[in-house]
């Protein structure tokens, strides 16, 4: 029996739309993961430091303000600087497809748009975690 997956659900940027973040946090928890939610208006520094302190496997970024191209790469960079490039950085929000592709190029994992069922996120995270465990074993 493997340990539970630890997830930080984070709200970077200044927008206050936390409906999606809270729905996702609750769904991941109900799926047996250990979930920490940061609250709103977090800087990349606050998010990276919470991810390291809480020793999470996954960071889920939720943003609807349009600042994803500035803020997501910064979270990634800060985690890399702290030697935590093993953390899966995924997320969702109002993010145009071409921005998702550009972010993926930079090392952000899959991003999810409006209308995604929570089961899709759960399966995605579980599959990634299983693959990482298999690699580590």
């Amino acid at each position: 029996m493997s340990r539970p997956i630890r997830v930080l659900v984070a709200k970077p940027g200044l927008d206050g739309h936390d409906r999606g973040a809270k729905v996702v946090a609750a769904a991941l928890r109900d799926a047996g993961m250990e979930v920490i939610y940061t609250g709103l208006h977090q800087t990349p520094e606050m998010i990276a430091s919470a991810a390291v302190q809480e020793d999470v496997d996954v960071v889920g970024l939720s943003i609807l303000s349009g600042a994803h191209m500035t803020l997501f790469p910064r979270v990634l960079q800060l985690l890399r600087e702290q030697g935590r490039d093993d953390v899966l950085i995924t997320g969702g929000g109002i993010i145009p497809k071409e921005d998702m592709d550009a972010l993926e190029q930079q090392g952000i994992a899959k991003l999810f748009g409006p209308g995604t069922p929570t089961t899709a996120l759960i399966e995605y995270i579980r599959a990634w975690f299983a693959a990482r465990q298999a690699q580590g074993a």
């Binding site: 973040a21 609750a26 939610y37 500035t70 409006p114 069922p117």
Partner: protein
């Protein structure tokens, strides 16, 4: 003692007719039960809906059988003339990039027949940060226009006479500052404040509840709002100093009944604070307006709007002793529900918006924003905004809907649903009172939890196919490449804003600014009305963040209760 039968043979005949109806309904029910039907149906708010409503459903309630529009309790509308007197205002919310770009969009909208302006600010402005503040990075001009000082506000309305338009500004945490920028811009155009018409959203309670663009802790934030009531009543009498908003509460996940009850409870809280300041309720209540979200369940939305007017009128009269009919009537803006738009098959959103707009108009809205089809993907393009505006114009000029006031009044279903909405709201008012009122309910996160629970339940219903969303969990098609163009906001606005702010800081009278900010701090520490002090800061080009920071020195900043 005479019985009604002896008194009046028509009453006896009516009672016989009702008995006959009761028997007919019983027989119908048996036939219905034998048919192949969906056994249960629910409104969007999960209330059970019967397959048929008759006069029997209104026994014990008069519905609106003895009401006309423009009369207490205003269920059927606030004006005796309805849309025959004045169509609703077609008010499209817009703003992006720099003040200059948004100014061009406003001129386009005015030329196309929009009749009121509505300013969308970017997130830094909504939070009280200047465009060059470190927290603003990546956000400037993205979801609205960036306004960091009076200079930007002047640019925003360049060539638009402020004495002739009505302007709505969606701003809350720093509303008092942006309002002062607007007042100062009007002064510079030579327009007397008494001539200004418009609205600041300024509903801070729903920010803590749902929308989350706050600056200060709850109590000082409420004081600022009452300062605006007081100043507005005297100096800017045609200005709506708060637009009490259900929109964001609903968008965050609330049901229709929760939207109705939580929003009205916020409204009552503002009234109580105004009265506690010593203001006469009839001096400020006429300037309170409302803002509702118009969701997918057609009849439920109409009933919600009718119930809202009735509840407000009754409470204002009976609980708060308002006597002026201007205090009793609920004027409101509506917007179609952004949360119902889908990223999948985005053209379908045009249809959703049209039905929602129809519900808003049948519910008697005073003004309406129709969403654009592309808003789950990005800010709307000019073309998408035009379709949204045309949707309202078709409704207004082609369908015949505005010809009759409250045309659904007397529908058994609508009247029953209106009654149910009202009693559900009253039940929720009791629950809120049980929490100690709105402010304690926010401090403990009670409202926030209720809203999050409703949101989670709706998501679960969609994933269980109990709630079907066309293109999302039903009637899906293979994902096609996006067939509509998207608006791109580049980083140029941020660069231009930073350069303009640095020029502004060099060119203004900085001694006058420092003195104005000091006087503001002093006023904030005392009990004086702070509006004149902020207005002075605005006039001498203190920036948004400088004014926010001065107030924060005195009030502190808000910290949210975090949970999920």
């Amino acid at each position: 003692m005479t019985t009604p039968t002896e008194l009046d043979p028509t009453l006896a005949a009516m009672r016989d007719e009702l008995d006959r109806l009761r028997a007919e309904v019983e027989a119908w029910r048996a036939r219905f039960a034998k048919g192949e039907v969906r056994d249960l149906a629910y409104t969007n708010s999960a209330n059970e809906v019967a397959p048929l409503y008759t006069a029997l459903d209104l026994e014990g309630s008069a519905g609106t059988a003895f009401e006309v529009p423009g009369q207490f309790p205003f269920t059927r509308g606030i004006h005796p003339t309805g849309y025959r007197g004045k169509l609703w205002t077609m008010r499209q919310f817009a703003g992006f990039g720099s003040a200059k770009e948004t100014n061009a969009r406003y001129k386009f909208l005015l030329k196309e027949g929009t009749t009121g302006l509505s300013v969308a600010f970017d997130f830094p402005t909504l939070m009280g940060y200047d465009s060059d503040h470190p927290r603003s990075e990546g956000e400037v001009g993205k979801c609205g226009v960036a306004i960091s000082s009076l200079a930007d506000m002047e640019q925003l309305f360049e060539g638009i006479p402020l004495g002739e338009v009505s302007t709505s500004m969606t701003i809350n945490g720093p509303a008092i500052i942006l309002w002062c920028f607007y007042l100062a811009a009007a002064e510079k155009q030579g327009v007397p404040l008494a001539q200004l018409r418009g609205t600041v959203q300024n509903d801070i309670l729903k920010e803590y509840m749902a929308q989350h663009a706050w600056c200060f802790p709850i109590e000082p934030a409420l004081r600022l709002i009452v300062d605006m009531f007081e100043f507005g009543a005297k100096e800017v009498p045609q200005w709506n100093t708060v637009s009490i908003s259900g929109y964001h509460i609903r968008e965050a996940g609330a049901t229709a009944a929760q939207e109705l009850a939580f929003t009205l409870a916020d409204g009552f809280t503002y009234v109580e604070r105004g009265i506690a300041r010593g203001l006469d309720v009839d001096d400020f209540a006429p300037r309170l307006s409302f803002f509702w979200d118009i969701h997918n369940d057609f009849f439920e939305e109409i009933a919600k709007l009718r119930a809202a007017r009735r509840i407000w009128a009754r409470h204002m009269k009976e609980r708060y002793g308002a006597t002026s009919s201007r205090s009793l009537i609920m004027r409101f803006h509506s917007q179609t529900a952004g949360v119902t738009l889908t990223a999948q098959q985005p053209m379908n959103n045009v249809v959703r918006v049209a039905y929602q707009a129809l519900a808003a108009v049948l519910g008697g809205t005073q003004s309406l924003h129709t969403n654009s089809m592309d808003e789950t993907l990005a800010l709307p393009t000019e073309q998408a905004v035009e379709v949204a505006l045309r949707t309202q114009q078709v409704l207004a000029y082609e369908t015949g809907v505005p010809n009759v006031i409250d045309p659904l009044g007397g529908s058994y279903y609508i009247e029953k649903l209106t009654d149910e909405m009202e009693s559900e709201a009253e039940r929720l008012f009791e629950e809120i009172a049980g929490q100690g009122g709105v402010v304690p309910g926010l401090e403990t996160g009670w409202f926030q939890k209720k809203i999050a629970e409703s949101a989670a339940r709706q998501q679960w219903e969609i994933e269980q196919y109990r709630r079907l969303i066309v293109g999302v969990n039903a009637f899906t098609t293979e994902e096609r490449a996006l067939e509509i163009p998207l608006l791109k906001i580049d980083e140029q606005a941020a660069k231009d804003q930073a350069a303009a702010l640095s020029r502004l800081r060099q060119s203004r009278d900085s001694a006058r600014c420092t003195a104005a900010l000091d006087r503001l701090r002093e006023a904030a520490r005392g009990t004086e009305n702070v509006v004149p002090f902020i207005l002075e800061c605005a006039r001498c080009y203190c920036t948004l963040y400088e004014i926010r920071a001065a107030l924060e020195d005195v009030f502190g900043a808000y910290r949210e209760p975090v949970f999920f």
